[in-house]
């Protein structure tokens, strides 16, 4: 490390904090990769700025998106963050697989420290800045529509959550350009991440990025839970909610109770690092196993935070594309709740080898296996939903089917790991890596992508290209099997996880297969982008403005696509679970309301961007010990909150006439559209109105 440039102003920033300088001084492939990644971030930012300036879209971006409190726009922005971060973490995964395939009996091209940064960022991003924003975005977009509400309970808090997540994601990206990231893995275990072993900025980047994400998720959880408890439309009892709303509720509850442990874990680690506390140090009574407990008290419920929404999505998808009511709705609700409760009782299985007594391990092992029961109930429910249904093999349905096969396989290896004696044999090997990818790729990613394909027409008014969707889906599935099945073998053979160079040449063929799998996964993402590009170009042929392209069941399909800002011109009143589905068959679901009323919606607010940017600045300043900026940022956050509490004019009125104009335009489009049967729903004939037999 060279000397800091200007400590009073820039903290501990030194010239060799920049990867470009490091690559200049020491032009190895390793350093060039770092500089290349940093250059991609810089070029990406410059490109977006230039593009926005060129198209003169800054004002549009600010007033239509960044300051909007519309839950639908916030939801879309969350998904955008998730897709950007997915791209980065996927590239990192490919780099790691390539390194391991190359570095058999030699050091390869990625240095050990750099390799450690790669697996740390890959894991941290995939959990905190891919899975979490993706599912939060979907919940945000869908839940108010599904329960017949006009917005979430706390629209501003919702936007603040988005901006805090964005600030955390931005810190992750900045760590590529300035400084280095943590080498401590996504779980950041001390004492390795303590100041004594890791005095650099890496663990601090991890701490503050994750803390921002954690606080954002706590706020989101509160918001979603209150929305679901308090804002359902008349007649929408809890047991009439779509299953996705139920899984969202359970996820929200998990967020409320499971995010605080993470906040505590990172905050105590920060106290150790910044103020010399001894929570997790080796000396003076510190106890790192406390950290393991705190972290996994968050970490295990987190698994269900990311998996449960996908369960809800599959329930909607399987039921819609089987043209059948969901089999065993009540049992699915109970199973979801059971999983949510049980998820708090199994955290210790992440460290069976800590050294506690066998009876404790046995208790947690049994609790772990118990979770398999409600999960199994769900799988059967989906299978029975398809049974004797008219199953249509659309892209979301392919994801759902791939999920069912793959997830059961991962569940079985989970049962293996739940036996403490077996866990002792394979813990910390690639067997574990294969297992949790086997849960999270089908259990979260496929679900997110199924939802993306399924609800995209609702959000943007046109369907996605079916062919590229299927290509992408096929690659995600094939790539998963090629990339992770070999890891089971390697893990059982004893290959440790997070290995930078491999000394055992017998591993070679398996590592080659895994590398090919990683490439296929990367191609799957590329196909997803191609699909988006092609679909945007062909959007005019695939418009579904009337809003019901799949003969949907929930209330969200009863609005135009995209829905108006206020969602519903009059609040729906429902008398049964699949009100819209049945209304299409029995009565007129598109009847105009008797009269139109003024609608009050939240006004745009710059509060969330200010708080988000200031919080991001605080995080960055703490990483680099730029104390003046940290204090300034905190004052801005507190000042903004206080100033906002003095603003009384927070709503604006959409006049009844404007509502009427919007609604009439939509109802005319509905009347003009030709209802189509399900057989041709993926063709341009689909104009968003379903042909139903009465």
């Amino acid at each position: 490390m060279s000397a800091p440039v200007w400590p009073a102003l820039l903290g501990r920033f030194a010239w060799d904090s920049l990867p470009f300088v490091r690559a200049w001084q020491n032009p190895t492939i390793n350093e060039l990769i770092g500089a290349g990644a940093a250059a991609m971030v810089v070029v990406g930012v410059v490109f977006v700025v230039l593009l926005l300036t060129r198209l003169d879209r800054w004002r549009w971006l600010w007033s239509k998106w960044l300051t909007s409190l519309d839950h639908k726009k916030i939801g879309i922005l969350y998904v955008v963050i998730a897709l950007v971060m997915l791209a980065r973490a996927l590239v990192e995964a490919n780099l790691m697989r390539l390194q391991q395939a190359v570095a058999i009996g030699n050091p390869g091209f990625v240095a050990p420290e750099h390799f450690a940064e790669l697996f740390s960022t890959h894991g941290s991003i995939m959990i905190f800045f891919m899975a979490m924003p993706f599912l939060t975005g979907l919940i945000n977009y869908l839940v108010p529509l599904q329960i017949g509400a006009r917005d979430v309970a706390f629209p501003l808090l919702n936007a603040i959550g988005l901006w805090l997540t964005g600030a955390g994601a931005a810190l992750m990206m900045v760590s590529l350009v300035i400084g280095r990231f943590s080498t401590g893995g996504w779980s950041g275990y001390p004492p390795f991440t303590e100041i004594g072993f890791n005095p650099g900025v890496g663990p601090d980047y991890w701490i503050w990025a994750v803390t921002l994400g954690s606080i954002a998720s706590t706020l989101t959880g509160i918001n979603i839970a209150v929305t679901i408890y308090k804002m359902r439309c008349p007649g929408m009892t809890l047991m009439r909610m779509p299953l996705f709303a139920w899984t969202s509720l359970c996820t929200a509850i998990l967020m409320i109770f499971a995010m605080p442990p993470l906040t505590i874990a990172t905050a105590l680690l920060a106290l150790d690092r910044y103020l010399g506390f001894h929570f997790f140090t080796n000396a003076l009574g510190g106890n790192m196993m406390n950290y393991a407990n705190l972290f996994w008290m968050f970490g295990h419920p987190e698994v269900y935070i990311v998996v449960l929404p996908a369960f809800g999505i599959y329930s909607e998808v399987v039921s819609t594309f089987s043209s059948k009511e969901l089999y065993g709705y009540t049992s699915l609700v109970i199973a979801t709740m059971a999983i949510a409760v049980l998820s708090f009782t199994v955290w210790l299985h992440h460290f069976f080898t800590m050294g506690q007594s066998p009876s404790i391990n046995a208790a947690f092992g049994i609790a772990t296996m118990t979770i398999g029961v409600p999960t199994g109930v769900k799988i059967y429910n989906w299978i029975w939903t398809m049974f004797r249904g008219e199953v249509r093999f659309t892209t979301p349905m392919w994801y759902a089917l791939a999920f069912m096969m793959t997830f059961v396989l991962g569940g079985l290896t989970g049962i293996i790991l739940a036996f403490p004696p077996l866990d002792y044999v394979v813990h910390n090997t690639l067997f574990l890596v294969a297992h949790f990818h086997n849960m999270l790729i089908p259990g979260t990613l496929y679900g997110m992508l199924a939802a993306y394909t399924f609800w995209f027409p609702k959000a943007f008014g046109f369907r996605l290209n079916e062919r590229w969707g299927r290509i992408s889906c096929a690659c995600w599935v094939l790539g998963f099997y090629l990339a992770f099945m070999p890891l089971y073998v390697l893990g059982a053979a004893g290959m440790a996880r997070r290995t930078q160079a491999v000394m055992e040449t017998a591993y070679r063929p398996w590592l080659y297969v895994a590398e090919i799998g990683a490439l296929v996964l990367f191609f799957a993402f590329a196909a997803l982008i191609v699909q988006l590009w092609v679909s945007i170009r062909q959007r005019d042929a695939n418009r579904v403005f009337p809003g019901d392209p799949w003969d949907g069941r929930g209330l969200e399909w009863s609005t135009s696509a995209p829905p108006p800002e206020y969602n519903f011109a009059r609040r729906p009143v429902v008398d049964q679970p699949h009100w819209f589905f049945d209304a299409k068959r029995k009565e007129a679901p598109y009847a105009p309301p008797a009269e139109y009323h003024d609608i009050e919606m939240p006004r745009n607010s710059a509060v969330a961007p200010i708080i988000g940017i200031a919080s991001g600045a605080v995080g960055f300043a703490l990483v680099w010990h730029i104390w003046w900026l940290a204090i300034l940022g905190m004052l801005v956050v507190i000042g903004t909150v206080i100033a906002r509490s003095f603003v009384r004019d927070t709503h604006r009125i959409i006049p009844a006439r404007a509502v009427e104009r919007t609604e009439r335009g939509w109802l005319e489009a509905v009347a003009k559209a030709r209802p189509i049967p399900r057989e041709i729903e993926t063709s341009p004939a689909n104009q968003g109105v379903a042909l139903v037999t009465r």
């Binding site: 918001n223 506390f277 705190l294």
Partner: protein
């Protein structure tokens, strides 16, 4: 749902419309949920404190550091501040004059600040004979838990100041009422946490 079900029990919003009542219900319920999440933070710090109690690393112990006198006084002060806040709530509910509410808030603020001053004095005394968080795991856990409560009291005090200003600026409009109710929940919640600190941190430490 009827008005009575959605309106928070201790709030008198007068003759406002149904939507204001529904919004008040949401706001107050949301704050309860937030407090539950906050309670988890404290619960984990209590657990951490319990685990790290023996980790004195040959340094100061609970018995050598805790003084029952000031702690008991702080407890009484904080509990009294809850009573004064309660008086403000009662005045708000039963249409008391604004200056009455203002006065009770001011009394609460004074007691809160007195509590903070005394607590800071305790801490500085501990620091002065080497009982600082860098000394041992036990002291780290103590200074992770108790000052976090203090920080909450500080935030609550700032909030009281803001509400006193808003009372002057806006009078008792529905938002001021809702925020006073939420502030009350927060303040009483801090009392609850302090009782837990008093009876699981200080008292056992002194008995030993």
């Amino acid at each position: 749902m009827s008005k009575d079900e959605t309106a928070p029990a201790s709030l008198n919003l007068g003759g406002t419309d149904a939507e204001t009542h529904a919004a008040a219900g949401r706001d107050v319920f949301g704050f309860w949920v937030f407090l539950m999440s906050d309670a988890v933070l404290f619960a984990l710090l209590f657990a951490t404190y319990g685990v790290m109690l023996p980790a004195t690393a040959g340094g100061p112990t609970p018995a050598s550091e805790y003084k029952i006198g000031p702690i008991f006084a702080e407890t009484l002060i904080l509990l009294t501040s809850s009573v004064t806040y309660g008086m403000a709530s009662v005045a708000m509910k039963h249409g008391g004059a604004q200056r009455v509410i203002f006065g009770w808030l001011a009394a609460t603020l004074a007691l809160g600040l007195l509590f903070l001053g005394m607590e800071l004095h305790d801490f500085s005394e501990m620091f002065s004979h080497g009982a600082d968080p860098t000394r041992s795991g036990f002291l780290s856990a103590f200074f992770g838990l108790v000052p976090l409560h203090g920080l909450h009291v500080l935030a609550g005090s700032l909030w009281i100041v803001v509400m006193m200003v808003q009372l002057r600026v806006f009078g008792l409009d529905p938002r001021v009422k809702i925020n006073l109710l939420r502030l009350g929940l927060f303040w009483h919640f801090l009392d609850l946490i302090w009782i837990a600190i008093f009876s699981t941190v200080y008292l056992p430490g002194l008995i030993r």
